[in-house]
């Protein structure tokens, strides 16, 4: 907080500057736009001073790194101790092909794995399901049973790497498969570190790979919280994701607001299921996007950290500091990449990755330049990883914690994003919480409005996307794009046939029967799912059994 007299003096001087210096230049040269805005539509002034952040109280609002409210970061010394985990999301084709890609990435200095599953796996269909036709192995690796998972991690010591798995509706099944593979390697569950995304709410809002309705889905999620709190202390039980919300068109403010609103819903669900907040909250993790508006993005990460800390302390009475720490993974913004002049994407990714690092991310995926065209080639993935390594080892931004703190503009934006996100959360509370708001289509509508406005800004020329609506060139179609073998579907079908003729089908039937009956009770389903997985029930068989009990989610359509 600033001294009153000096502020008064500053205000006078600023007014004088505006009326003389600034006005003179504006009369001669009008500015490029009448008004300037951030990506989230926050109006931007020509210059920021102490006047914009006069109520900022260092100890209360920022604090020291590793201390409440964690605005400056969750670790006391951040990247001076350990750099963020460089984690490239990868997976395509069969388990064999993806296993090769993982080994390549680890050999290039990547520090953790991140598994992309294909759409049938994400929606709980086996590769031989009619709806899987054409989709097998396309956007990720096809996993039908524990057999595939054993191949996927063959030769990768699971006690040495941490693995993140982008899996939501069937998260409990894939987590069980991971536990079973580790066991075969002789690694106990409590030695495993990694993350499952396990965030169904943003699937309803933005990503679309849901299976079951909200209520049984929330039960599966809290089952995982409970199971892991007892058996997997190093595992992140959820990755509450703003990434896809942003990709669907949300602004930075909406990304923070809707993600934290979803977070509140998960905390409430777990408390209602009988867990105490400090039992599970330390293992909650988050996942954010990084777009091009560099300074707004840095402020966004800081605002999200401070707001979550306050929510956990003031709303849920968390006592354990770890429950209040918002730890997050970042991925650069896929929707900001252009198919035109794809090499320009390397520069976009650099800006975005820098935002994530200046914002204090715990792990980072950098997109490859060719992702608006196809799955990334090995060369493109290497450049993306090198981008992180150059920021880490050459840029110098890692040598001190939260280096932009105290910038008037950054602190102003941090305050404004927090305040606007809070207003959204209040609105969602009034609608009855995140689940109700989603069922009413509230978040979806807000996101669509932003997406449409963004598109219209590009078409009117108010917003410039280099190479798309300005600085275009004639281009040859790009070469060397990665193509998934169209035979993957058939390969998986053959593997499934072999599996079903060689496994103990009696044990399979018994396990599925047990799953069916337990799903009808309020038992924790993790142990029985683990049992199903271990006797090689397929993902589709397990999910179909649950579909029979839980039913399927029907989305409300808004345009």
């Amino acid at each position: 907080m600033s001294d009153k007299n000096s502020l008064e003096k500053l205000r006078k001087e600023k007014t004088l500057w505006e009326e003389t210096k600034l006005r003179k230049i504006l009369e001669k040269h009008p500015e490029r736009f009448e008004k300037f805005y951030t990506n989230s539509n926050i109006e931007v002034e020509p210059v920021y001073t102490e006047l914009n952040v006069q109520d900022l109280d260092y100890l209360n609002d920022l604090g020291f790194p590793g201390e409440y409210p964690y605005t400056r970061g969750v670790q006391p010394n951040m990247y001076r101790g350990k750099l963020w985990t460089m984690r490239q999301y990868a997976g395509f084709g069969t388990a064999e092909e993806s296993n090769q890609r993982y080994k390549f990435l680890l050999s290039q200095g990547q520090s953790g794995l991140s598994v992309a599953f294909d759409l049938p796996t994400q929606i709980g269909y086996d590769s031989d399901h009619p709806l899987s036709r054409g989709e097998v192995g396309k956007v990720g690796v096809a996993i039908d049973s524990l057999k595939d998972m054993e191949i996927l991690f063959d030769g990768i010591p699971l006690d040495k790497v941490s693995t993140s798995m982008t899996i939501n509706a069937p998260a409990s099944v894939l987590l069980s498969m991971y536990i079973a593979v580790a066991e075969k390697q002789g690694v106990a569950p409590d030695k495993l570190s990694g993350t499952i995304q396990n965030d169904i709410l943003k699937e309803y809002v933005a990503r679309g790979t849901y299976i079951f309705p909200p209520s049984p889905s929330m039960r599966l999620i809290t089952n995982i919280f409970e199971f892991c709190s007892k058996n997997m202390p190093k595992w992140n039980t959820i990755s509450i994701s703003g990434y896809h919300i942003r990709e669907a068109g949300a602004t930075a403010v909406q990304e923070v607001a809707f993600t934290l609103a979803d977070g509140i819903a998960y905390v409430e669900a777990a408390i209602n299921a009988g867990l105490s907040v400090d039992e599970f909250a330390p293992r909650l993790s988050f996942f954010f996007n990084a777009h091009n508006d560099l300074l707004e993005e840095v402020a966004k990460f800081r605002a999200a950290r401070r707001l979550w800390a306050k929510i956990m302390k003031e709303r849920f009475y968390a006592k354990d500091p770890r429950s209040m720490m918002l730890r997050f993974h970042t991925q650069t913004g896929g929707s900001t990449l252009t198919a035109q002049q794809p090499d320009n994407n390397i520069i976009r990714v650099t800006i975005q990755a820098l935002a994530a690092v200046l914002g204090g991310t715990q792990s980072l995926h950098t997109n490859s330049r060719d992702e608006a065209l196809a799955l990334p080639s090995e060369d493109s993935v290497r450049i993306a990883l090198r981008t992180q390594q150059i920021i880490a080892y050459e840029s110098g931004v890692t040598e001190t914690v939260d280096p932009l703190a105290g910038s008037y503009y950054i602190e102003y934006l941090t305050n404004t994003i927090e305040q606007k996100a809070r207003e959204y959360i209040d609105k969602i509370d009034k609608l009855g919480g995140a689940v109700k708001a989603i069922e009413k289509g509230f978040m979806q509508q807000e996101i669509q409005d932003s997406a449409y406005r963004y598109q219209m800004e590009i078409e009117s020329g108010r917003r410039i996307v280099v190479g798309v609506n300005k600085f275009q060139i004639e281009e040859e179609p790009p070469k060397g794009l990665l193509k998934v073998d169209p035979e993957v579907g058939r390969t998986q079908e053959i593997k499934l046939k072999e599996l079903k003729s060689s496994r103990d089908n009696l044990a399979v039937r018994e396990a599925l029967k047990e799953l069916h009956s337990q799903a009808k009770t309020d038992a924790n389903l993790m142990p029985v799912i683990l049992k199903c997985v271990k006797c090689y029930c397929t993902l589709g068989e397990i999910c179909d059994t649950l579909r029979k009990v839980f039913g399927e989610y029907k989305a409300s359509i808004t345009i």
Binding site: L119, I123, G134, Q340, L373, V468, P478, I559
Partner: protein
């Protein structure tokens, strides 16, 4: 003089992918340009899409796909339209579709493939020129 009938468009998401930002932006832009637009929602099979198109008596089907399954799913829609004698419906598509696949899709009967970065105005013009 004569009553100009509004162009009716079905925007559909074939396959399993859940990325419908583009589909929804296009749907709204077409609607704002005076067309009547129906959006199917996610995870539509080619059979469901064709059935809806015929039921709703649309002039145009816009297929949005980003999952990579376009070479299988899009020709299937065309084939089913032919079987139902509904090949007068103009079928266009958009999404992450590599250049080298576009020729094949056009040969299969997709009138145009709009890739990322296409202005909505270009799509509107295309529809207005090609719907008789």
């Amino acid at each position: 003089m004569e009553d100009t009938k509004k162009i009716r468009v079905l925007i559909a998401k074939p396959g399993l992918d859940g990325h419908d930002r583009g589909a929804k932006v296009i749907a709204r832009a077409l609607r704002d340009s005076g067309m009547e637009v129906i959006y199917t929602g996610l995870r539509q099979t080619p059979e469901q899409i064709v059935e809806t198109a015929i039921q709703e008596d649309v002039n145009v089907i816009g297929l949005s796909i980003l999952s990579g399954a376009h070479n299988f799913l899009l020709p299937k829609v065309i084939q089913l339209l032919k079987e139902k004698n509904a090949e007068d419906i103009l079928v266009i598509s958009g999404g992450v579709i590599p250049e080298e696949d576009i020729l094949g899709l056009k040969e299969a009967g997709i009138a145009e493939v709009f890739t990322p970065g296409t202005p909505t105005s270009e799509i509107i013009d295309f529809i207005k020129t090609h719907v008789k």
